[in-house]
């Protein structure tokens, strides 16, 4: 048993760099999309609002795997666009998908800052941009932190899908180990779980931290 673990663990560890790099890149991309789309959905401009609404509903309403396959197989064939290496395609698909979910968090947080805050800022003669930048947004961000933490943990789990488009992440090496020695399957997948859980630990800790920050310093 111990021997088997010593055998398998280093193999799985070879996938760490892909899992971690896809996690970091797609999380950053998702956050970016979340803020852009979340703010666009609050825009005065109907076209911008409707268009972002469409993006959010399409990406929330369909599954990540299908989106991944679309970007990997369908888009290049249909439109002749090469989106980049499969690493990039994984990052883009995961980023767009979770960006859609997180944009709702951004929008909801901004809307839930108390109306009185906007009024006090107006009474101090701030412009609408200053109200957003100095008063509403900083409070909204505090409220977003816990949800951003939760979704980042989801993103970590989502990264395992990139093994389906040939990326050599932790799950990919797990599959290889299993196919070379079927009797080890339970142990292999147990170790895969342990790997993901260990990666999730700092995210869980950050989420807790975010929760305690968001509990103070917000008017609602």
């Amino acid at each position: 048993m111990i021997n088997a673990i010593i055998d398998i663990a280093p193999q799985l560890a070879r996938g760490l760099s892909i899992t971690i790099s896809v996690l970091l890149a797609s999380a950053i991309f998702a956050y970016l999309m979340a803020f852009i789309a979340g703010l666009c959905r609050l825009s005065q401009n109907t076209i911008i609002r409707k268009f972002t609404g469409l993006y959010v509903e399409v990406f929330r309403g369909t599954s990540l795997i299908v989106q991944l396959f679309w970007l990997y197989y369908a888009v290049p064939m249909l439109f002749g666009i090469q989106l980049g290496s499969n690493w990039w395609i994984g990052v883009i698909a995961i980023g767009l998908n979770y960006g859609a979910y997180l944009s709702e968090v951004v929008r909801g947080s901004i809307l839930s800052v108390a109306q009185g805050q906007t009024e006090a800022a107006t009474a101090l003669n701030m412009s609408s941009f200053q109200r957003m930048r100095l008063i509403i947004f900083p409070q909204a961000v505090r409220m977003m932190l816990p949800e951003f933490g939760n979704y980042t943990i989801q993103i970590l789990k989502g990264t395992s899908l990139v093994s389906l488009i040939g990326m050599t992440d932790i799950l990919y090496y797990g599959d290889i180990m299993r196919s070379s020695n079927l009797s080890q399957a339970p142990l292999v997948y147990l170790l895969v779980l342990v790997f993901y859980f260990i990666l999730a630990l700092p995210l869980i800790w950050l989420t807790r931290k975010g929760e305690s920050i968001s509990r103070k310093g917000v008017a609602s």
């Binding site: 009024e119 006090a120 800022a121 009474a123 101090l124 701030m126 412009s127 100095l134 103070k216």
Partner: protein, 256 residues
């Protein structure tokens, strides 16, 4: 006699089907202290919210310092004011709210400093000094780096006043600033208002249920009832010698 700093000219306001204000005419002179009293729902808050540009009148004009607040000239026509016009005119007006509305993510010093720095583009040093002075004046000089959540209601309201005063408004609006406070904290807030009223030469409009206080500091008292100013005059005229029956009924309920 100088020009009024604020004029309401036949101002109406309705929310949907409810006509809340039905023709308000009112002059406020520079440095004048005006108390607004009246039953709940009579539109007291609405009047000062329109002056603060938080609520748009349905019709009529509000003139601030000679400029129409809610309308601006465009190619010879008077059209609805845009954000830029509102910003130009409301710079002279400050407001203190019933529920304080302090910025919870900032210390109380930052609460005071933010607007002068970003809105009036004053230097940080200058604003800092003035903010500390102002917080000292309202008795909170020792709490500069506390957050609003660490203060009592009375302290919060005093910060809100300092925050408004640092902007040096010519007109200050107070909307029942003591009614969300525990009774034992009301006194300290009224004391600060009294101090401002006696020593600063800005115009003040106070919506209040504190009759004795109104009697003490107001140059003019308005009794708002059923959408109009039913009675106005000096504090003693309105509060002590009026013959208006509804006003007497209203006052009676306050002085058991």
């Amino acid at each position: 006699m100088s020009e009024p700093i604020v004029k309401f000219q036949d101002v109406h306001k309705s929310f949907g089907d409810i006509n809340v204000l039905k023709g308000i005419n009112l002059d406020i002179n520079p440095a004048e202290k005006v108390a607004v009293i009246g039953p709940s729902g009579s539109g007291k808050t609405t009047i000062i919210r329109m002056l603060m540009t938080l609520e748009e009148p349905t019709s009529g004009d509000i003139i601030v310092n000679g400029t129409n607040l809610w309308k601006m000239e465009k190619k010879g026509d008077m059209v609805r004011a845009n954000e830029k016009h509102l910003r130009q005119v409301r710079g002279d007006i400050g407001m203190v709210f019933q529920h304080f509305n302090l910025f919870p993510h900032m210390t109380i010093l930052e609460n005071c400093m933010t607007a002068p720095i970003h809105v009036k583009k004053e230097t940080k040093e200058e604003v800092r000094e003035r903010s500390i002075q102002m917080l000292d004046r309202v008795g909170l000089g020792d709490k500069l780096n506390n957050y609003p959540s660490q203060l009592s209601g009375g302290q919060k309201q005093r910060v809100a006043m300092a925050r408004a005063l640092v902007m040096r408004p010519k007109i200050m609006l107070f909307d029942e600033v003591t009614s969300a406070l525990d009774p034992e904290l009301v006194g300290e807030v009224l004391e600060v208002i009294r101090d401002i009223a006696k020593h600063d030469d800005m115009a003040m409009v106070l919506v209040t249920h504190e009759m004795d206080f109104a009697l003490d500091i107001a140059d003019k008292v308005l009794f708002l009832d059923e959408g109009v100013i039913a009675e106005q005059g000096t504090a003693s005229q309105v509060i002590e010698h009026s013959t208006n029956e509804r006003l007497q009924g209203f006052l009676h309920r306050f002085r058991k």
